[in-house]
Symmetry: C2
Subunit: 199 residues, 2 copies
């Protein structure tokens, strides 16, 4: 990679990092390009030169996060398939998110609500859903192949898991007094009864 | 009820009906009090007199809908508990919503995203979640009592059903090409394997 490209990559990473911090601090509604620029140490003019609206930056932020995602970061592929499945559930639906995780999940849901009417956001969340479903499907298929899981239908099982995780996140963020404990308990029963092969 | 109270009730119902139509037509972001007034046949001054912001009307709209909800409208309590459970799933997560149902579900999700940061919306969605969970719990409990369902833990089962329904709705509305067919198929398997008692 040329040093020009290195600079570009370094600058983009720094902008995306600033976007993450600004989003956690302000949420979607109160976010401005200025708030992102305030978090960005170098060349603010670069930021204003490249982006006209906060939505442009945020859509690129979603795309950048998806580009960075690797299965190897999300799960330890030397673990057993049922441990890998729980790693994914813990990752997407933590039992007790720390304050930063919580702020970020709320911000992501605010961005997701833009996908209700904005095609550029919708594209990124469609890509995210595909990535999550593919990862879950890989873990399930590996578990079926090595005898950890029963020979279940992968597509509906993955859809149930993805819907349950998304819904539990939405409920925790929009409903007072709601935790994900009961949903996680029901997921544990589902895995025990419907997924895990008999000993 | 006095005829004054009748008038008030009639006017409120007419305002709420106008709000429903304006919300389906414009969605949350583009909704204005004027758009609601345009759908409201009588006394527009009354509308402007009572409400300062669209959020005031919309929070009252959610509250009004919840006041109108009766279990008897949602399910036929003479049906068997498993038919009642499917009536609820069909109601909240229709396989193929008609265009008006779809517009309204998208609008409801837009209102729900306001609950991420607005306490008045959050109160109404907390009430809605409690109502849905209580209704599901009543159906499950009746089914356990009459032997239709196994003696499952009601609270986690209800949380799984509510999360799955909410997540499938969110995914259908924010992800291109997503239907609820696979999630509904997995719910059918869940009910068959984990809920229904052995013959």
């Amino acid at each position: 990679m040329s040093s020009d490209a290195d600079d570009r990559t370094g600058t983009q990473a720094a902008i995306m990092e600033a976007t993450y911090r600004a989003l956690c601090d302000h949420g979607y509604a109160d976010l401005t390009i200025q708030a992102i620029a305030d978090e960005f140490a170098k060349s603010k003019s670069l930021l204003y030169y490249h982006y006209d609206t906060k939505d442009e930056i945020l859509v690129e932020f979603l795309s950048y996060m998806l580009d960075q995602f690797t299965v190897e970061d999300a799960i330890d592929t030397t673990d057993s398939p049922d441990d890998q499945l729980w790693s994914l559930i813990d990752n997407f639906l933590p039992a007790s998110p720390d304050p930063e995780q919580h702020e970020f999940q709320v911000a992501l849901l605010e961005l997701r609500s833009q996908a209700l009417s904005n095609e550029a956001y919708r594209e990124q969340f469609t890509r995210a859903d595909r990535l999550i479903k593919d990862t879950l499907a890989d873990v399930l298929t590996a578990g079926i192949d090595d005898g950890t899981f029963r020979d279940v239908d992968v597509e509906p099982t993955v859809s149930l898991l993805a819907s349950t995780i998304d819904g539990a996140m939405l409920r925790r963020a929009t409903i007072t007094g709601n935790s994900t404990a009961a949903t996680r308990e029901a997921l544990a029963q589902f895995i025990e009864i419907q997924l895990l092969a008999e000993e």
